[in-house]
Structure formats: C-alpha cells, structure tokens
C-alpha cells in the first residue's frame, strides 16, 4: 500500500498578506521581499556563515532598492514624454515632479 499526503497546516496562516494605505510599496519594501525570495539563511547554519550570508542579503537589498528607484525614475520619464506628446503638458509636469 502506498500513501501520499497532500495536506496543509490547518491552524497557522500559510500565505503572508502585505498591505499599504494610500500608497504603493516602496522600493525598500519590495527589495526586502525580493531578497527574501532569492536568499534564505537557516537559523541552524554555522554562525560564521550565517552572519556573512545575512550581511550579503542586506547588501543585495540595497542594490535591488537602488535599481528599483532607477526603474521608477526611468518609467516616469517615459510616462512624462507620452503625456507631453499626447498634448497634456500640465499632467506630464505633475508626473515629472513626483
């Protein structure tokens, strides 16, 4: 007889939920989530390696956040030009100043 189990933890939440109020996520918040997906460090790892891995994670977080901010600025440039070309210079200026 073979038995395979497809079950979930009934009691503890399985998925995480993150929400914001009157804003979107910041690059820093998203960078933290991004790095958590890419790098995981077990608590039982050798302390020397664990500390090094966590320091590396923090560094990567900063790099990711930096490029996210760059991506936002770059996209705003694109949006600015699209609105300006469509005859909405005031709206375009509003976007540029964000």
């Amino acid at each position: 007889m073979f038995e395979f189990k497809v079950e979930v933890d009934k009691t503890n939440p399985i998925v995480g939920v993150k929400t914001t109020e009157n804003r979107g996520f910041t690059p820093e918040e998203l960078a933290e989530q991004c790095v958590a997906k890419v790098i995981s460090v077990s608590d039982s790892t050798h302390p020397g390696i664990r500390d090094q891995a966590r320091a590396f994670s923090k560094h990567i977080e900063k790099v990711v956040a930096y490029y996210m901010r760059q991506a936002i600025r770059s996209d705003r440039t694109t949006v600015y030009n699209t609105l300006k070309d469509a005859g909405h210079p005031d709206l375009a200026e509003l976007i540029r100043r964000l």
Partner: protein
C-alpha cells in the same frame, strides 16, 4: 459563519488522482478570490462562489486575480508546486481569507474547482493601496502544495 483554518479541498485530491489539474506554467489557469469573514469554507468546499467575496476595487475584480504557476518540481522524495506572489493595486479591500481555484480543470474552460482554502488568521486591509499575497518559500517543507 467565519473562516476556521486552511483546508486542502477533498474534491481537489480526487481530481488530482484523475489527472485533472496541471500546475505546469502556461497550462491550467488558477485564480485566487478574496473573501470577508462571513465566508465559511471547509475541506468540503468544491467550487468558487461570489457569495461573501470582497467587492471589486482597484485591480481586484469579481472572481479574483489570475495566478502565475510555478512548474512543479521535487526535492528528495517530496514534490511541490508554487505560485508567484500576486498584488492587487490601488485597492480598498478588507479580506479574511481566500480560495484558489482552477478555471481549466481537466482541460476545460470556465471551471471553478477549488484547490485550497486559505485563512489569513485575521482581517487584512488595504486602503487605496496595494494588497499583496505572499506565497511561502517553494521548497519541500514550505511550498503551498506538496506531495510527500
């Protein structure tokens, strides 16, 4: 009525043995619908329902959002699959839980067969902001759907 925990739907297990769910990326389309705490789902839940679903807001519309499947894989003797995190933007939502369901069960279309009931543990709210669902790490110990 209220959410009473997480459940892997029994009908899903049966359909799994019938080979009716394909989690391969690009195959069956799975959706996640959000509900308030008036909803009452258990392992006996078989289909998506609009009753007690949160109202459409921002990028959230009736029926919920389409998930991106991560093709199943394995580690040691455990097989598992995952979904990409999903974010509903510019949304005002208060939800206590969710249903994941397959809209293409058995290669069909427009199906509503439930996979899993998710209890968030408490009401989660966004106000004119982002409402993001973060799936657990895709590994043999944590992935949302695992066969051990």
């Amino acid at each position: 009525m209220a959410f009473t925990g997480n459940f892997m739907c029994t009908s899903f297990k049966v359909e799994l043995l019938k080979g009716q769910h394909d989690f391969t990326n690009g195959q069956d389309a799975f959706k996640i619908a959000l509900y308030d705490n008036n909803a009452s789902f258990t392992a006996a839940t078989t289909d998506y329902t609009a009753t007690d679903e949160v109202a459409a807001s921002g990028s959230y519309s009736a029926g919920g959002g389409t998930l991106t499947n991560v093709t199943p894989t394995s580690s040691s003797t455990t097989a598992f699959t995952d979904f990409d995190d999903i974010t509903f933007t510019s949304a005002t939502i208060t939800a206590r839980g969710a249903l994941i369901y397959n809209t293409q069960t058995g290669g069909g279309s427009g199906t509503t067969d439930t996979v899993v009931v998710l209890d968030f543990g408490s009401d989660k709210s966004s106000t004119s902001g982002d409402f993001q669902i973060v799936f657990p790490t895709a590994d043999a110990s944590n992935a949302i759907i695992r066969i051990a």
